[in-house]
Amino acid sequence: MRVMAQLGMVMNLDKCIGCHTCSVTCKQAWTNRTGVEYVWFNNVETRPGLGYPRTHEDQDRWQGGWVRTSRGRLRLRAGGRVRRLLQIFSNPRLPGMSDYYEPWTYDYDTLLNAPAQADVPVARPKSLITGEPMQIRWSANWDDDLGGAPEHAPGDPVLKKLGDRVKLEFEKTFMFHLPRICEHCLNPACVASCPSGAMYKRAEDGIVLVDQDGCRGWRQCVTGCPYKKVYFNHRTGKAEKCTFCYPRVEAGQPTVCAETCVGRLRYIGLFLYDADRVLAAASVENEHDLLEAQRSVILDPEDPQVIAAARAAGIPEDWLDAARRSPVYALTNRYRIALPLHPEYRTMPMVWYIPPLSPVVDVVRDTGFDGEDSSTLFHAIDALRIPVEYLAELFTAGDPEPVGRSLRILAAMRSYMRQVNLGEELDESIAESVGMTGEQLRELHRLLAIARYDERYVIPAAHVEAGQSLEELAGCSLDYSGGPGMGGIGPFGEVSGTPASVESFHLTKQRAESDRYADLPEGRGAVDLLTWSGEAPPEGLFPPRRDNGQPGNGQAGNGQGRS
């Protein structure tokens, strides 16, 4: 057993209202730069729908992920190593800009500078790629809320798998939103596709990252990722992807998408997994067994053997404690209601989803029945084949049983908690019918409905204290965002600079949580003079006053004056 830690996320789809706040805040934080205008590390898709980039789930076309060979080994679907290298001069499976969308801005200058005239001036859309006026034909969420669905949605690769009978009635039947980020897979096909070895999985927390200095722009990762969550920065010629907001996560803060989620539907926590068993689990023959195989790779953080092996592997105690309190482990393995997205790609994705019961509830309620009655809901889950089968194509490689089980648990929780809240006599058979106890349903309800911030996000801080303080001292590094290190386009193309802000998020967190900027730990040597009011010496600028009353460093002011 080789225990490794992995940060994971669970999203409760019932709560997603499709507001795109996660997408927008993520874009503001990470991809509001030239070269990645078309890139959304986080995007929210309406299902059924084409997705972003369009039809990315059609692996016959895009060839992402892994396939199991007849000899039981895993091979990249797009071909082995030699084939990958022969195709680096022109990658036949690379989505073009038009498969995402052509990003644009508007000619606002016309509006602002138009003289007084009879006609209202118009800001025409202008392509950010060519700089020319353009017709807007697609975007990252063009088919949002089933807009244009009769025309577009039949192209949904998931829907196509269900066959013809769905096509005519699906839009009346159901709809839900699917927020997507990088899956930070245990068996990442993008990493395996990278010829330069610039993509890697972080040994400490499993976050998949691109070494910007090592990437040579061979574009194979974009093909390798079946979720199409690695993007090509067309200005710098480098691959970029969701970073799981590693600077925030290292400081114990949730990712930007999770922090800003209006519906509070995201959970972040640790998994402990057995790295030695990942390949075998990803290679099981029957696609329907992949879900269980993936769950079985994840280790029980309460198991003494696991704890001992984790300690031997150098995982710190506070990480083990966080793993025991992990909300994502509870949802995937303890209650077993969270499911991975497309396990059939065999990448072992680590962003899991609780399938939405709301499409079923909506139908039940619209037809005049009680949407909170467990037997009605159970019956509807069985009767409404289309939503369940669609969800099964997304989350369980087409096996309706695990999806049905998750939905039945949600339905049971719904009707059991109604009895609790209304003070009715509790019908324990509701819980028993889904193999749980009433107490477990209450715990699950607490986790899904009322869990507080620190229950939804159990993120142990990274153990690089010494490194962080060094980074703090080197606070004038030129690499902070907007600094000279971020410079524009030079004669050779984009000049060096890290696209990410490397400002220490530990400091940011302290600022966010303290009353005023001066409330920093002593001796950090970091003082924000920009926001200093000038009324008293900012703490941290001078050493603390000595015990005998002598002012430190000759400063006579109220160096201790913390108000």
Binding site: R84, F89, S90, I129, E132, G197, D213, R219, F492, S496
Partner: protein, 240 residues
Amino acid sequence: MNTVLWVVLPYICLTSFVVGHFWRYRYDKFGWTTRSSQIYENRLLAWAGPLFHFGILGVLVGHALGLLVPESWTSAAGISEDAYHAVSVSGGTLAGLMTVTGLVLLVYRRRMTPSIFRATTVMDKAMYLLLGAVVAVGTYNTLVINLLGAGHDYRADVAVWFRSIFVFQPDAALMAGAPIAFQLHALLALGLFALWPFTRLVHVFSAPVGYLVRPYIVYRSRDPLGAARAPRRGWERVGS
């Protein structure tokens, strides 16, 4: 004059080549990329990209054989001059035509696709100009002089001069007697070598052959970036 062209200039250009690459790798690793434009346009590239690259790889192999292997070696191995000539001209013609066709298509694609033309830097244009000239003159040498014309045994002068540079006993007289087209090809190539490290051509040296043998999944520890990282120059702690 001959000394300047065939002794001084080569060493200046090759110094620029070597030192330039070292400098670029040291200070501009982030800029070290293919700067692929495939995401803008795919249809033409699907043909032009492989055509040019496989062609130029063939050209590279041909040059290695022609310039680095002395005539005495091939004759010692029992390969007659006629047989060598037949192989080199036919292979050279094929590789040369592939390269030229690919390059013409690539430049056409770059100029005619607005998004790609917009992403083309000044250095790109200079590089394409020089590369195009080198390829054009080289193809002329192979096609017009060696295939259709009387032919010139470059292994008697150009190749010997080329090797003499690397053993630091350059012999300018050898090149002075070569046909003008061969002289021009050598000079243009020297110019390309001088410019090379400052262009996107650096991606040649990142040919990812290591991919064939490395494990699929790469793990890296955070430590080298964090705790163990030495402070940057000028930011060392007091007393260290």
